[in-house]
Symmetry: C2
Subunit: 120 residues, 2 copies
DNA sequence: TACCAAGCTGGAGCAGCTCTAGGTCAAGCG
DNA sequence: CGCTTGACCTAGAGCTGCTCCAGCTTGGTA
């Protein structure tokens, strides 16, 4: 798969994919004889996971650790599982932050409405 | 109120508060005769709002626009309202991203479990 | 055969903090 | 009264995580 297709499949930009490769967040990507990257289905699946983790706030350093586990193969499954379980907890915290913000916005909007009524 | 108290009340760091002031995201902050900042209750409330908006992904540029409206006073209430309503929509998108990530994690964890069972 | 889109690399630029160096000032202590 | 401590100040450097740019190569179409 070409890098442009991989980008739209994963939601990452082409530049970000190259950047992640440079940081060794990806396993070795095959190249065509013209030097272009050729992403496997597994590569794409991995990028979708990275994209989702990054989008929801996993720090780069943690992703690097996770990627190293991935590249060491099946012996690291339990450590990888721990990373994902931790991140699930983090998702709950983010959800709570969104909810707090929603509430605050609702309160502010109500106050704005009251203020515009008072003016009229 | 001192900057350290304001930081813990708003959830922003002291450095970030000073940075926001430099970018004119805050109205003019009073100073004591020793040159230290003295935040009013309204200042703190404003910082709590900014903190909440930033934490949930509002870009700096948008915050700057919002801050300018705020500093122009009550005539801008309807524009400010629009900013907050837009952001509420953005919150829903973020929630959806969290949910997609949760689902993906659940799927991956299930697969990990199947793989470790196969190994044993 | 000439072009154009898509890819490549190395490196600069940008957003949004975060940290550091080097200083001021007020309060508390001996 | 002098000394120390700690919270604050400023200007500016450094960091993360992209994002963009210049200048080049290649493969497919007319």
């Amino acid at each position: 798969m070409r890098i442009s297709e991989t980008a739209s499949a994963s939601g990452l930009s082409i530049d970000t994919i190259r950047y992640y490769e440079k940081l060794h967040l990806l396993p070795k990507i095959a190249r065509g004889r013209d030097g272009r990257r050729d992403f496997s289905a597994e590569n794409v699946e991995w990028l979708i996971l990275l994209s989702s983790l990054r989008e929801t706030g996993m720090p780069m350093e943690r992703m690097r650790y996770f990627a190293q586990l991935y590249q060491r193969g099946n012996e690291t499954l339990s450590e990888r599982k721990a990373v994902l379980v931790d991140h699930a907890v983090h998702l709950d915290m983010r959800r709570a932050a969104l909810d707090r913000c929603s509430e605050l916005l609702a309160y502010k909007l109500k106050r704005y409405d009251e203020m515009t009524e008072d003016l009229s």
